[in-house]
Symmetry: C2
Subunit: 132 residues, 2 copies
């Protein structure tokens, strides 16, 4: 089977008109040009994961839940009393926080007790930093 030759395609990635502002161009060159710039950006997979973490925190209801659990572990019924929304809605938001390991739930008899995780605590610290 004949080996397929690499087609003579133009490098599609990372092109732009020849001249940029001088200061930009110089600094870019000094730091390894486009190649250097790209090398300093985290992998797409990392950025994707980071964006999911932020996404999970990007809702007032979910932040309210996080802050509630920062006080102490709570069963769903108490959390519900805090946020004052329908059961299924709360469950949806709890799931999103669970998926990012910000909280964990443990069945205890008839109830499920949610607690904040170390990740969750970190996340709230981040949130406060962002705010200031």
């Amino acid at each position: 089977m004949a080996q397929k030759r690499t087609p003579p395609m133009k490098e599609k990635c990372c092109e732009f008109s020849k001249d940029l502002p001088d200061t930009i161009q110089k600094e870019l060159d000094k730091k390894g040009g486009m190649e250097g710039l790209l090398a300093r950006i985290p992998d797409a997979s990392v950025l994707h994961a980071s964006s999911r973490l932020h996404q999970a925190l990007a809702d007032p209801i979910r932040l309210t839940v996080m802050y509630s659990l920062l006080s102490q572990p709570l069963c769903v019924c108490v959390i519900k009393a805090v946020v004052n929304i329908a059961d299924s809605k709360l469950s949806y938001h709890l799931t999103i926080l669970k998926e990012q390991d910000f909280i964990v739930g443990e069945q205890q008899g008839n109830w499920i007790i949610y607690s904040i995780t170390d990740n969750g605590r970190q996340a709230l610290k981040c949130t406060e930093r962002l705010g200031k």
Copy 2:
């Protein structure tokens, strides 16, 4: 005009069935009950603002832009070369980052040069913490 008496309405907020797991109930009581719990949760307006901040970071394209600008100030055309998307799309994402004061743009001749702000740098530090 007759003074309207406070109607005998049930406190609608923050109710739940009388019995909770014992450990939860005890800790809740010790910490000021529902009232104490609620008092430790930041204001809705604060949480709303925080969620917007996270929301702005909740997209891989926007994180890529932020990391690009962490290297150095850049004109839109270079950023575009990095993220490889349509102009208008990039502009949309730049606007969102601008709105949260993570980046600023300054016109310089024909170009607009974007830079990361101190808030933006903080935000990326947060992002890294979240990840680890």
